[in-house]
């Protein structure tokens, strides 16, 4: 299904009845898409940040449930009523120029995310290289040496070439691999229980006394709710869920959340717990995912880390290429993908994106999610509040200044709070989203009044 959705069908018109998909496509797609290489980073990062067993077991449950509810009652509702891509809906509201601006932000952030996935895969490639390569730790921001750089460049180039030539093949590999990958995650968790000779998962997840606590229950809730904020609150998944027959297909996101973002994260967290307890590893520095997974389940683990990183980095590079192409329509898709691949490869060399993934994912949601509030207001409230729905289309405007300000102001305030006040980035998407919706109503009332008369006339 991913191929057809990413392809160029129905990009500028609603998806017709005949092209709608059944529920199984969505359950499979969400399960596969959210079991990625980066899950091997996120679980251990919670351990490094001193999350308790209650924070993880209950916090992740609540946060993921809230994410599923958001997909079901916000994204899927709008997607099945409009049946348009995010880009086209945004163009109808904000005009083509603002969509280009959004494409730039989206494309660059996609590249950094794909770079983090390449970094995770590189830690698996590095295992057979032994002492020849210095693997990065959570503390590392800059490249750790020439061998590390070479490994990332080779992987990045390979992934870019495949994204250009064989995207459909990679989508198939991802589809085929996802049930097996999920079981490898679970196998890692069970192996840790076996090696530490205990069945008490709760006791294992408790941090040792004196561990510095950088994240609590609500932090875990917010992270798991908003790590995909760009997709649900930000409406990026309109492009996928517009193919759903009914809004109830939004429940399919539960497959991704409760397999990929609950079971897989907890199993990945257990890997670092084992290294801390058995080898005295410093949780704040962490251990490279490839090393931990190889130690737990052997070569099948190495294959899992590479495949998990590869099958999710490739579509991400491909989508970033499409975003760049959308921004500069004169360039070919190949050129767009090449640019995306180059940026992704450079990003992968710097471990910062993978090792600071909790921060990065929060920033990603803070920047992109507020756009979804503009769509939310336009869809549910425009008529009730006397605003013009699909403002740019109705008034032939190329640029909706009210939408730009409503997006940019909360993002700048949010990023300033993160930078200057040390507010954790993953708590910011919701306040920014709400602020963006309120500001869009206010600015539309103030700035789009004259145009409203034009439309009425």
């Amino acid at each position: 299904m991913a191929d057809e959705i990413v392809g160029d069908e129905y990009e500028r018109r609603p998806v017709p009845e005949t092209a709608l998909k059944g529920p199984t496509s969505f359950w499979g797609m969400y399960a596969g898409e959210h079991t990625a290489g980066t899950e091997f980073m996120i679980g251990p990062l919670f351990v490094a940040w001193g999350a308790t067993a209650f924070d993880l077991i209950v916090g992740l449950l609540v946060g993921n449930l809230l994410a599923v509810l958001t997909w079901r009652f916000v994204t899927a509702e709008i997607a099945t009523q409009q049946r348009l891509t995010l880009y086209y809906k945004l163009e109808k509201i904000c005009g083509r120029w603002l969509v280009s601006f959004y494409n730039l932000a989206n494309g660059v952030l996609f590249c950094f995310l794909a770079g983090a996935m390449v970094t995770v895969s590189a830690t698996a490639i590095g295992v057979p290289l032994g002492d020849a390569i210095r693997m990065p730790t959570f503390d590392d921001v800059l490249p750790t040496g020439l061998v590390w750089i070479s490994t990332c460049v080779v992987l990045g180039v390979l992934m870019t070439v495949v994204a250009i030539r064989g995207y459909a093949f990679v989508a198939r590999v991802g589809h085929v691999a996802s049930p097996w990958m999920m079981l490898v995650f679970v196998a890692c968790g069970i192996t840790v229980l076996a090696k530490l000779d205990t069945w008490n998962l709760y006791a294992l997840l408790e941090p040792p006394a004196g561990t510095k606590k950088a994240i609590g229950f609500w932090g875990v809730v917010c992270f798991s709710w908003f790590c995909n904020a760009a997709m649900h609150l930000g409406m990026s998944d309109l492009s996928i869920l517009r193919y759903a027959r009914k809004p109830s297909y939004g429940w399919a996101s539960a497959a991704g959340m409760f397999f990929g973002h609950y079971v897989a994260w907890i199993c990945a967290a257990l890997l670092l717990v084992y290294w801390v307890r058995n080898f005295g590893a410093n949780p704040a520095k962490g251990v490279p995912p490839g090393t931990m997974v190889y130690d737990a389940v052997g070569w099948s683990g190495i294959v899992c880390v590479i495949v998990a990183g590869w099958t999710t980095a490739n579509p991400t590079i491909y989508r970033a290429g499409l975003a760049f192409q959308g921004m500069f329509p004169s360039i070919s898709r190949t050129t767009g993908t090449l640019i995306a691949g180059a940026v992704c490869t450079v990003a992968s060399i710097f471990p910062a994106f993978a090792m600071k993934l909790l921060d990065f994912v929060g920033i990603y949601g803070t920047i992109l999610a507020p756009v979804g509030a503009i769509i939310f207001v336009d869809h549910f409230w425009a008529h009730r509040l006397g605003l013009i729905s699909d403002y740019a289309e109705q008034t032939n405007a190329k640029f909706n200044t009210a939408a730009l300000l409503a997006w940019i102001i909360p993002v700048l305030v949010g990023l300033s709070c993160y930078q200057l006040l040390n507010v954790q980035s993953f708590v910011l998407p919701l306040p920014c989203w709400i602020a963006s919706g309120i500001l869009y109503v206010l600015f539309s009332k103030l700035m789009n009044r004259v145009s409203a008369k034009v439309v009425v006339a």
């Binding site: 097996w180 079981l183 490898v184 679970v186 192996t191 229980l193 076996a194 389940v297 070569w299 099948s300």
Partner: protein, 55 residues
């Protein structure tokens, strides 16, 4: 459709998760578990594309 593909795939999935459980129950050792999981990996990727593609 290759009739062998689906049973081999299901067996491979079972062989991916069963060895760690047997390790937890102290029935197999770690090396046996890792070897069985590698075999299951090969089995899954060899067999599942045939029937997953068709379904």
């Amino acid at each position: 459709m290759n009739h062998w593909a689906k049973p081999v795939s299901i067996l491979s999935l079972v062989m991916t998760i069963l060895p760690p459980v047997l390790l937890l129950l102290k029935i197999v050792d770690e090396n046996t578990m890792k070897a069985a999981m590698l075999l299951a990996t090969v089995g899954w990727f060899a067999a599942s594309p045939y029937w997953l593609r068709e379904s």
